[in-house]
Symmetry: C2
Subunit: 245 residues, 2 copies
């Protein structure tokens, strides 16, 4: 992926600029450029929170400079054209589509965001190679500036969530086999067995248990079996270490 630069054109409210700095950093982006911004004082710093560095390093630039240094310039707008006959805001792409489109770009992709009250001027939009819009509801289509930047950064970064250990197919089969033996022990009718085990398989499969969850079920079955057969009690409901160790 190319380097992403967020460019705010003539932002009017310093609180929004601070919020933009914060949400950029939330998605790992630190290159902020400002074209003719409002003064940035305490409110910008307050909203930026732990993104003071992004705010302080924000470059003051002109649109000409942005064009000269960028491989691609994207302009965002909350108002798109209705017809192909007005090409200033046409065609337009969602942030998700944008991510795919710029994947192979070498260099900087600058994404322009306009004024809070009026967006980008036609002459600013005309300088962009790609128009981007976030689909919103007709009941209130215009997003706050920092919310719009947040969603674009969220889509472009496309960060993955952490991984965690799901029970393996082997462990799941072992659990279904355990359930089968348990159902024998409680005299579950054999003619209903197949369908009962199928329901268990279907329910648990789609729930995708973690190793902990699967072993907890094993543990509860075992505990119950021990009570039923009068075997010596064991306290090993699952494989995780007890609290306090």
């Amino acid at each position: 992926m190319p380097e992403i630069q967020v460019v705010l054109v003539n932002p009017l409210y310093e609180g929004n600029v601070g919020s933009v700095a914060r949400v950029m950093k939330n998605f790992g982006y630190t290159h902020l450029a400002l074209v003719d911004p409002c003064p940035l004082r305490n409110e910008a710093r307050a909203m930026a929170s732990h993104a003071q560095d992004v705010l302080e390093n924000a470059r003051r630039v002109t649109l000409d400079e942005v064009l000269a240094e960028s491989a691609v310039v994207v302009a965002t707008t909350g108002e798109v054209a209705k017809s192909v006959c007005t090409p200033t805001r046409m065609p337009y792409y969602t942030p998700h589509e944008l991510k795919e489109m710029i994947a192979d770009v070498d260099g900087t992709v600058s994404v322009l965001f306009g004024r809070e009250n009026s967006g980008l001027l036609n002459e600013e939009l005309s300088r962009a190679g790609i128009i981007c819009t976030i689909p919103t509801s007709p009941i209130y289509p215009i997003l706050n500036l920092s919310h719009a930047v947040g969603i674009v950064c969220y889509e472009l970064a496309d960060l993955q969530r952490g991984e965690y250990a799901l029970a393996s197919p082997f462990e799941m089969e072992s659990l279904y086999a355990h359930m089968d033996r348990f159902l024998d022990l409680v005299d579950h009718p054999p003619h209903k067995r197949e369908i009962t085990l199928l329901l268990a398989r279907r329910l648990l499969s789609r729930a995708m248990p973690t190793i902990r969850e699967a072993s907890t079920i094993h543990g509860i079955l075992r505990r119950t079996e021990q009570r039923l057969t009068g075997a010596l009690p064991r306290n090993d409901d699952d494989t995780c270490p007890p609290k306090g160790t």
Copy 2:
């Protein structure tokens, strides 16, 4: 899709509550519930902007009431467990995964968001059926409350962008044929023709021209042909009505 309710648990800053109301409405959501909120005054109203209705209709509820009225309760957290051995925040799903998981739910899905400084308490998280987290950058993993709500609403709503008229396959073939005739007119070498037309086809195909763009190219080729052959000038570069009509 089920009805979505956004639940803020003990929000501390009225400006955030106002921003939440706004970004909810941006994605068509109007059901906001508040558990033990801070007082909402002028700053909440200022940030809510044209979402005064969402703010004013926000219900004051307890967590017990939310559980009683919801088919599914989702708790969001910025801090997830590292191991399956700590199940309070495990397993966890992204907003995108959440959308798929709740697609067939009948009734209300309540999505809980915690305090700005400390999130949700373990006892609050324990009452949820699904844990949701927005993957963020390790350089600054905690999102502002309204930015988090915005991204979850954006994903759950999954609104589509508008459609616009792309040039049809027939129109594109007609364009390539026109280019071929044009290249004859300018004595483009026949042995290079196939590959030149292939490059044009590949470039234009992936650019997916609109009807307007395709007809503009036709018009420019025609205009040039007229100059080359001395034919009478015509001003019909494309199919869209001229400005002013």
